[in-house]
Amino acid sequence: MRTMRGLLCCLLLLLQTGCWNRVELNDVAIISATGVDWQNGKWVLSYQVVIPKAISSQSGESGSAAVNVFSTTGDNFRIAISKASEETSRRLYFSHNQVVIIGESAARKGMGPLLESYLRNHDSRETVSMFLSKGSARRMLEQLVPLEQIPGAAIQRMIANEEHGSSAFRQMTANDVLMELLGSAQATSIPGLVIAGEGEGTDSVGMLGKTTTPTKVRLSELGLIQGDKLVGWIDDEQSRGLMWLTNHINKTTLSFSCAGGSKSRASSSAKILTASTKLTPEHVDGKWLIKAKVEATGLLMEYNCPGDLSKPAEVEKLERRIEEEIKAVIAEGWEAVRKQGVDVTGFGTLIHKRYPKLWKQASADWKELFPKTELEVEARMKLNSTGMSGRNFKDAQKKAGGG
């Protein structure tokens, strides 16, 4: 009896706790994307809230958009977020936030407060993808994306697709950004988003009913961050060169011209299947020399140059041609970065790891040293397959006609 009474007391104690931090699914506003802008001396946070009812297959009304966007302002991030309760009936739920888009103005002002808030709070996840936007971040959130119901998720999938299929940009998660900004060089790069096309934004479901949308969100240019501020942009091709240099190429398509040189038209292309870049820093006469060794394999996808590829010698020639092209792409990217003077290449970290003592001296004036750093690229390309035909189509045609 005594034990029963004791058990009963324990049970009652259990009930006293209530349901801890229980949150029902219909008490939260699931946020799929967040935008950060800097306007009139205040932070403007924009939220893309998912409306589950509009998405579910059974009760989905095709007339309404699956997301709703609203903004709050404040002197700091958390006060802005807490103000959300003034205009929404549910608690903002950030754990499923897919992307954070930072407006150009906010990025130039400095991302410090945003990153601070990311480091400190447990409901904000470091796996979220970060983007810069040219213009207002809120405008990006308002854009609907064809094929996908939740625009935030769509942008996240877009960068993942880009990273795996084309590799001009790579996905920068909050974690990546934090690691690089807290690393040796304190610089990072974040892909940018623009609204391409003319006219009004694609912000109503009705517009998705047409075969084309007047405007769309697309990835464009890579923003270079030094410290916590946006310093400058490099374009898509330069960004691809940077990805080659920093060993972030997964799969990409490389176009090249028959003769080489910048004037001739790049009429052929190869698909790069694997690529790896090894960097070794060397200290020569007070300057740094980075030796890059690139190894790549690929398939020939399109060939509009002369030569019979059924002969191994021709294929080797072609491989040398592609190697040159890789070097050229890397050089283009490197020059652009060097001009901006922002070490997004990871050279600083590399030197720090390899020569910790020398780095101690170098780190103080790395900003001056970095643009003076020399890069030496050595490329090795292996074509696994040239496809099903030997000569290009026109040559084959000529041969058939002549023969």
Binding site: T17, C19, W20, E24, L25, N26, I30, P52, I55, Y93
Partner: protein, 514 residues
């Protein structure tokens, strides 16, 4: 004085009339007591009485084997002189029944009569003969109702313990199969048979079974469940520490593994002890069909058991505490289902689980004729309509029905009941504390399981404590091919732990090469 007399039993009188009267008085002139008085040509002045209880005996046998020869009997001349000799002669020369006993007390006589023997008395003898003519209507041996297999014997136990023992003996045709029968129940005098395989079983376990059976003092035993509750190791546990089976082949398999089986009169369900937690996951069919398929199915059983215990709790915890753990698309689709549902997740789950339990119980108890009605009510009204009305979410219905189906995978019904009951507790813990609650519950259950014993054998054996026989645990999750099951699975002091020689793997190619 009279008490002492009763303890020893009331002696039978030499007068048939007095004895018949006494028996009749003891039975309260019950209408099913048949008394037949007759005289034989051989001893015309002596009254011979035949008493039996109709329904318990084979009337044809009585007519042909007792009354007829008795009436026409010819006795040696001296037999008439003394009543005792008359009876003795009747037994020796006249009654063609295989089992005949003689008794001297009234109590004994009554006892045997209720077992289905007929009582024979002759004037002038203070003794009585009891001829075994038991019979009457019994359910015939048929297909087991509760534990079905596709491949395997299709015979199930019946209510008669003698028949049941014979069913086992038909499988194990060895003199090593020992059967000991006890009578338990002040009023019911139920036969309780203990079966074991001598030379294999750990004798201390048999001794322990006898000791515990001897301690039972109850007025009636109607089913083996009575015995189970008296002899199990731990009363206050939800986990069964004895296995129940309706199948003679399961009993035989258990005996071969060195376990003890207990059969109880009036129940087609046999008890098997000692039992470990993991043996509840074996179906007899595992050992009849291909080992690879059986292994796969056994894995499914383990998974299903875990699902039936924690799945609703898991759902509650994830949707009310740990939404971040779900993939975004799944979260959104769950959130869409929950729009407009008035109850919190825990209440919703308890509601649906209770509904299902009510449905299940109703389906079990209601008259068979209205059976189809329950599926309509269950499937349409409570499933579809509840979702359409927005009272519960569709996801919850899926969770509850999957949990319910998983529960029926268990080959042992008593173990299935355990997970069904514990589920509610875990659900409440999950509703209060999320995953932490589930973890605490599982931890508590684990500790509890490790503390259980079944007739001295640790319940979690062969995992905890560390087994004495190396590698014995492999047979728990994997149904090994028969040729590789060398050891008997129980980690006890078996007399003979090996069940076959090792190295009996069949050669790869046996066809003759020419």
């Amino acid at each position: 004085m009279s008490e002492i007399k009763q303890a020893a039993g009331t002696p039978l009188s030499a007068s048939v009339q007095a004895n018949v009267h006494a028996v009749n008085a003891r039975f309260g002139s019950s209408s099913d007591l048949v008394v037949r008085l007759f005289r034989s040509d051989a001893a015309p002045e002596r009254v011979i009485a035949l008493l039996y209880i109709c329904g318990l005996v084979e009337t044809d046998t009585i007519n042909e084997s007792i009354i007829a020869p008795m009436m026409a009997m010819e006795l040696p001349p001296y037999a008439e002189e003394k009543g005792d000799l008359l009876l003795e002669s009747m037994r020796a020369c006249v009654v063609p029944v295989s089992s005949v006993k003689d008794v001297t007390t009234l109590e004994e006589a009554l006892q045997y009569m209720t077992d289905g023997r007929c009582l024979l008395m002759a004037d002038g003898s203070a003794m009585a003969l009891l001829a075994d003519v038991s019979g009457g209507n019994q359910r015939s041996v048929g297909i087991p109702q509760t534990q079905t297999v596709i491949r395997g014997p299709q015979r199930g136990f019946v209510e008669d313990v003698q028949t049941n023992v014979s069913l086992v003996r038909r499988i194990i045709r060895s003199s090593d199969l020992h059967v000991q029968t006890h009578k338990i129940g002040e009023q019911t005098h139920s036969n309780v048979a203990v079966l074991y395989l001598n030379g294999v079983v750990d004798p201390s376990i048999v001794k322990e079974v006898y000791r515990r059976l001897a301690d039972i003092d109850i007025d009636g035993v109607l089913e083996s469940g009575y015995i189970e509750e008296f002899i199990q190791d731990e009363s206050f546990t939800m986990f069964p520490t004895m296995m129940n089976t309706e199948r003679p082949d399961t009993v035989a398999a258990s005996l071969l593994e060195g376990r003890v089986a207990i059969l109880v009169d009036g129940s087609p369900i046999a008890l098997i002890a000692p039992t470990t937690f993991f043996s509840f996951f074996d179906s007899p069919e595992d050992y009849y069909q291909r080992f690879d398929i059986a292994t796969f199915i056994r894995m499914i059983r383990y998974v299903a058991y875990v699902i039936s215990m924690v799945f609703p709790a898991f759902y509650i915890a994830i949707t009310t505490f740990h939404q971040e753990m779900l993939p975004t698309t799944l979260l959104i689709s769950l959130a869409a289902q929950r729009e407009g549902v008035p109850f919190p997740g825990l209440v919703e789950a308890l509601l649906m689980e209770t509904t299902f339990e009510v449905l299940r119980e109703a389906g079990l108890r209601m008259p068979r004729a209205i059976g189809p009605a329950i599926s309509i009510v269950g499937a349409l009204v409570l499933g579809q309509s509840a979702v359409q009305a927005g009272i519960v979410s569709a996801g919850m219905v899926i969770v509850v029905s999957f949990t319910a189906i998983s529960n029926f995978v268990m080959p042992e019904f008593n173990m299935a009941g355990t997970s069904r009951t514990i589920r509610f507790g875990i659900m409440i813990m999950a509703g209060l504390f999320g995953f932490l609650g589930i973890f605490l519950s599982v931890l508590f259950i684990m500790v509890h399981l490790a503390s259980l014993r079944s007739f001295g054998v640790p319940y979690m054996s062969p995992f905890a404590p560390k087994p004495k026989k190396a590698g014995i645990w492999r047979g728990v999750f994997i149904r090994k091919p028969w040729w590789s099951i060398v050891l008997r699975p129980m980690d006890t002091n078996l007399r003979n732990p090996k069940r076959q020689g090792s190295g009996r793997r069949p050669p790869a190619q046996r066809h003759s090469r020419q």
